[in-house]
Amino acid sequence: MPTQPPLPPLLAPYVSSLPPSSLIVLSTVLGAQGNWLTLRYLYAALNASSTSDAALILGERHNGKKQKVVLVSFLRGWEFWRAEAKRLGLDLARLTDKRQFAFVDGLSELFSGPRTTPTTTTTTTTQTTPPSLVPSPRGGPVPQRTILPSRSAPGPIPARGPQPARGPAAVAAPAPLTPSAPSAPPASSREIGPVKRLHLSGKGPAALDRLEKDIAAVVAHLSGRATATAEGEDDSEVLLVLDQPDLLLAATGPGQGIGATEMTEWVMGLQQYVHATVMTLAADLPLIHNASAAAHQMPTPLETEHAAFAIGSAHRAHLVMQLRDLDTGAARDVSGVLRVSKGGAWGQSDNTDANGSWEEKEALYFVQRDGGVSVFGRGE
């Protein structure tokens, strides 16, 4: 098969020029994962703004606004996204340097902080250790649960990988990335880009509030509002990509005071900071349907909460992109089915001209071995 364009033409209207304060829910199942579609959202936002003139013709619907992306990933680490984006021609590390992209790691240290009191360790460790040191000697009593490659030396391009430059202990601090941070060496490393690691501490909605504050700090840092830099960066639009936040719900659950409503409110809170939000969720059959009234047995709390969260999010979404397996079974040249549907919040805002190119559609897609994706209608 020939190499595919990074953005399949059939998909292009849905991934670019998202209406303001919109929520797009991307539902996936185990057999049809949505990473490729998430990457297409990254590509549509970042590529249009990174290449200067050629993309301006294509992306003039953005009104000349720069698009920036904050990716909050709960199931996959930085290395995965960097490698996958590279196959698309996106250099996330470079974009991080240019402050067009920020990665928030919700996987590595969500439940295991490096220290018990992260705020104090921030000051101590960052002051004692030079920022170019590799994180391995600072592992301490708690083993580093990162999936990062162990770089032995900073090498010729130390700026490429943001993590080795910043110790995990420093980044895991929930202190916002504002210029009020303590010392000088982290300030230099901060220029490399915020790879923030979320750490869930406490119980209930308060813990979620803390996560919200962390992510909001990253967004503020990226959009240049906190650091008053020049060159008019205030008109940039930030796209927030939440990759599988249902992990949070599954890992905490109603027993810890976090249910579907709390999660929805958390997402709503995050939406307030950004231009548009893309959220991926699992929509596998047991997670959605076991809790419905037609089920014969008592649903578990996880099933109830997840179904309430997923369906409630679909009610709040402008667009729901549903990925699923092919109904007729596996095929060699089809990876799955993509169904684009209008969500419950469709038509709430009256700017229909922006939404004019969105119509409901069902198409097949095929992810090739090189990462290229083709999207085509049935029978094409």
Partner: protein, 348 residues
């Protein structure tokens, strides 16, 4: 069905829906809108807002899951992270703030989704839906006592409810349906048409979206399921309880908002039975009984032919004469003038 009965029902029920949607005479203080992913309540909510604007009703929008205020809303109360008591306070404050500007005596309170509140962990065991909702309708403040308030609450039917604290507690939905004076269940018109088409053929009606129970399918609605633009619209299944206790059940259809101008004052909702797609105009043979089906043969009889036919003595009458075995049963026929006797073929 008698035509008088239909027209009676038409006028009555159209008047009723117009009264309910325009909030006239406080026909229904608490309307419960049951929507689903297949047919969200947004078009109906917008229609409520449109009509309230026309009749200058103060609109308060309580947002549990909406971020940006809808167009035409007078007061927008974000209910995110608020306790029920705070919400009540904010809603009541919204009216006293806004009432100074307008002379409107009536107010409409829209709640975009009650599910998050029913589902939330922060609502304690003492939270009671009925007292929460009635506190909107009957505010304690002395100034607001003369206000006629109507409450429209949306409930997502497909969001599963949390397990009940006690097996004897009624579920929130049954509680709400018990309290509501009007229940509007929403359906997508194209789905109703598809289900009717299946029922007319005695097939199992199709299901859509979540009810399909397919892996990975949340929404089944597609823009043009039958390639038909005119199949848009929202079907309202209305159940209204009168003050006398008598219930009224009716199905209506609300056309899409693009079909009429926003200032249009006439009634746009029609009965579902009157929609040409749902009940196509009857075939002409029902209305006009005189016409015979056209044929190349003349199937009718003239008077003379009928008389002749009555005059025919059938063979079994002849056989009953009892002339003996083997006799009788002959065909007795008087040749008419138009009969052409053929020697070779015919024999008597």
């Amino acid at each position: 069905m008698a035509p008088t009965n239909t027209s009676h029902r038409q006028t009555h029920n159209l008047l009723l829906i117009s009264k309910l949607l325009s909030l006239r005479d406080t026909a229904s203080p608490l309307a419960l809108v049951l929507d689903s992913l297949e047919q969200p309540a947004t078009p109906l909510i917008k229609e409520y807002i449109r009509r309230a604007k026309l009749s200058k009703v103060h609109i308060t929008f309580v947002a549990f899951e909406t971020l940006k205020p809808l167009e035409g809303v007078d007061a927008f109360v974000a209910a995110r992270k608020k306790s029920p008591l705070e919400i009540i306070k904010a809603v009541n404050a919204a009216y006293t703030n806004g009432s100074t500007s307008g002379p409107s005596r009536r107010r409409l309170i829209l709640i975009d989704a009650i599910n998050p509140l029913l589902h939330a962990r922060r609502t304690d065991a003492h939270f009671n839906v009925s007292s929460f909702l009635s506190s909107f309708l009957m505010p304690q403040g002395p100034a607001a006592s003369k206000v006629e308030a109507s409450l429209v609450v949306t409930f997502h039917q497909d969001v599963p409810s949390p397990p009940l604290p006690s097996p004897y507690t009624p579920s929130p939905l049954s509680m709400l349906t018990y309290l509501a004076t009007t229940i509007i269940r929403l359906h997508s018109f194209s789905h109703i048409l598809a289900q009717k088409a299946a029922r007319d053929r005695s097939l199992v009606p199709p299901v859509f979206g979540l009810e399909e129970e397919l892996d990975g399918v949340l929404l089944g609605r597609l823009d043009k399921p039958i390639g038909n633009e005119s199949a848009q619209g929202v079907v309202l299944e209305l159940e209204h309880r009168r003050k006398s206790g008598r219930g009224v059940l009716e199905w209506y259809i609300l056309p899409p908002a693009s079909r009429y101008p926003p200032q249009y004052a006439k009634e746009i909702v029609t009965l579902l039975d009157d929609h040409p797609l749902y009940r196509p105009p009857q075939e002409p043979d029902f209305g006009a009984g005189e016409e015979e089906p056209e044929s190349t043969f003349e199937l009718r009889l003239t008077d003379r032919q009928r008389r002749d036919r009555e005059g025919v003595v059938l063979p079994y009458f002849d056989a009953q004469q009892g002339d003996g075995p083997g006799e009788g049963g002959r065909i007795l026929y008087d040749m008419g003038e138009e009969d052409d006797f053929d020697e070779e073929e015919d024999e008597i």
